[in-house]
Amino acid sequence: MRARPYSSWISRLFVVSVAGLAVTGLLQMPLAERYALTEVPGLAWTGDFFLVHRLHSYFAALLLFTAGLAATNWLRAWRDRLALTPLGAARVVILGGLMVSGGLRMYRNLPSVTLEPALVVTIEWVHLGLAVALGGAALAALLRGPSAYARLR
């Protein structure tokens, strides 16, 4: 039986974007240079803060596209036939928070925008906290077997 009732290319887009976001997200911290990742052949780019930041935005674009697509399909066609699994629902909430906080973070970086520093710090730490929470929830879902977000009713 299929583990996921929706098309697998949607899952693939999702997995690629989240994996890319996890890697480039971790690399926002200045670790690549310190832990010699930049010395590994082919990984010198991990030390380029601007590039890694840009990649994070591009993976975010992919995730936001996928989320927009899935949400629209959910509202238009899926919600009567699909039900979120409990861990799926938890991850949807966490992902929603990540997307909102990440979106605000990108908005804040636009040249004509200055947000209150206290708000920026909150956005930043909510984003970091939710990233850790998503990692935990994803791990829990994988350990419990079928990790799909939704199944047929």
Binding site: M1, R34, F50, Y58, A67, L69, M106, L110, T114
Partner: protein, 347 residues
């Protein structure tokens, strides 16, 4: 040289308070710097009157160093008092502590204990010799990469245009120094939050730089370096006004400006009677000794990437309305044909 009142004399205390009040109005609303109608501004944030700009008239600076001294005195309580010995860090070969605590007197470069220093050069221009002294510190960029790329929200631009590193949040990874076009922030190990987390594996102190005397600004006072300068080299005020003054001043001395367009615009404008290329070639450069080269907006590509990402959900929603990926596959359906067709649709 043409005397232009406010630029030459500096804003009076009263004038400055008035300027702050103008800024304060902007602070109440999130200061999204919208350009006023009809005001097509090439420099981002030009209309952000909440932002304060300093103009430095280099033709007046005598290199006396009173500003450097004033900066130290005014900010002494913010200087790091590191705990020693520093915690061991891994990998020891690559993670090295930086310690300036025994060299607090150094004043010929930027350090965690010296947020302002003077570059002095002699250059020939227009058939004459010029001695030029250039007070150097953080430029307070309009769209500061040090803050935009700080992963912990420790470095932040305030709504009044200055960029501040929060010493209780900074972990000292020095990313801000790497991404700053002038590599301004300087690190002191053995202080700050990292000591209480995993000092062996992450962090390496706190980054320090000019914070534009933000507490003084909050009290309605001008920064210490401006107040103590005997030659009134610096002027501070709302961005639009200061840009006009800098332009006027540059015109009056047939001079040159630096900082107005650098890195997409900064809240510091140097005005000099000699071209900055000549100054850049003459000044000593290196760690803690910033250059004076032209700087393109280092955040430009980041801005396009962010804009793409912020628009992506709209594209996703549109695709959803077109029915892309909407078909669900029942149990036992293998869906290969549909899958690849929809895959093609999506690309």
């Amino acid at each position: 040289m043409k005397k232009s009142g406010a630029t030459q004399s500096g804003l009076s205390r009263r004038g400055f308070l008035k300027a702050l009040a103008v800024g304060g109005a902007g602070l109440a609303a999130p200061s999204l710097a919208l350009a006023a109608p009809g005001e097509a501004s090439a420099t981002p944030g030009v209309a952000a009157d909440a932002e304060l700009v300093t103009v430095l008239d280099l033709s007046r600076c005598i290199g006396c160093g009173a500003c450097v001294e004033a900066c130290r005195e005014a900010n002494e309580e913010k200087f790091p008092e590191p705990t020693k010995p520093f915690p061991a860090m891994s990998p020891a070969r690559r993670a090295k502590p930086e310690d300036w605590s025994g060299r607090r007197d150094i004043d010929d470069r930027l350090t965690p204990y010296n947020w302002l220093y003077i570059q002095s050069v002699r250059v020939r221009h227009g058939g004459a010799d010029h001695t030029v002294h250039i007070p150097r510190r953080c430029m307070h960029c309009v769209n500061p990469p040090c803050a935009n790329l700080c992963p912990f929200g420790a470095a932040n631009k305030q709504t009044n245009g200055l960029t501040l590193i929060n010493d209780s949040l900074c972990l000292g990874g020095a990313k801000c120094r790497t991404v700053c076009p002038w590599h301004v922030p300087q690190r002191q190990s053995g202080v700050g939050l990292y000591l209480h987390l995993m000092p062996r594996f992450a962090g390496n102190g706190v980054m320090y730089k000019c914070d534009r005397c933000h507490q003084r600004l909050d009290r309605g006072e001008v920064p210490a370096c401006i107040e103590q300068c005997p030659e009134e080299v610096q002027t501070i005020g709302p961005r639009r006004e200061m840009i006009a003054k800098a332009r006027e001043l540059a015109e009056s001395m047939n001079g040159f400006m630096y900082g107005l367009d650098e890195n997409g615009g900064t809240n510091t404008i140097y005005v000099s009677p000699v071209p900055f290329e000549l100054l850049d070639a003459a000044i000593e450069q290196g760690r803690g000794r910033p250059h004076l080269k032209g700087v393109a907006d280092v955040m430009a590509e980041e801005n396009s990437a962010a804009t793409a990402a912020l628009l992506a959900p709209v594209a996703g929603i549109a695709a959803g309305f077109l029915g892309i990926g909407a078909r669900l596959l029942g149990p036992g359906e293998d869906g290969h044909a549909t899958q690849s067709k929809e895959g093609d649709d999506a690309r």
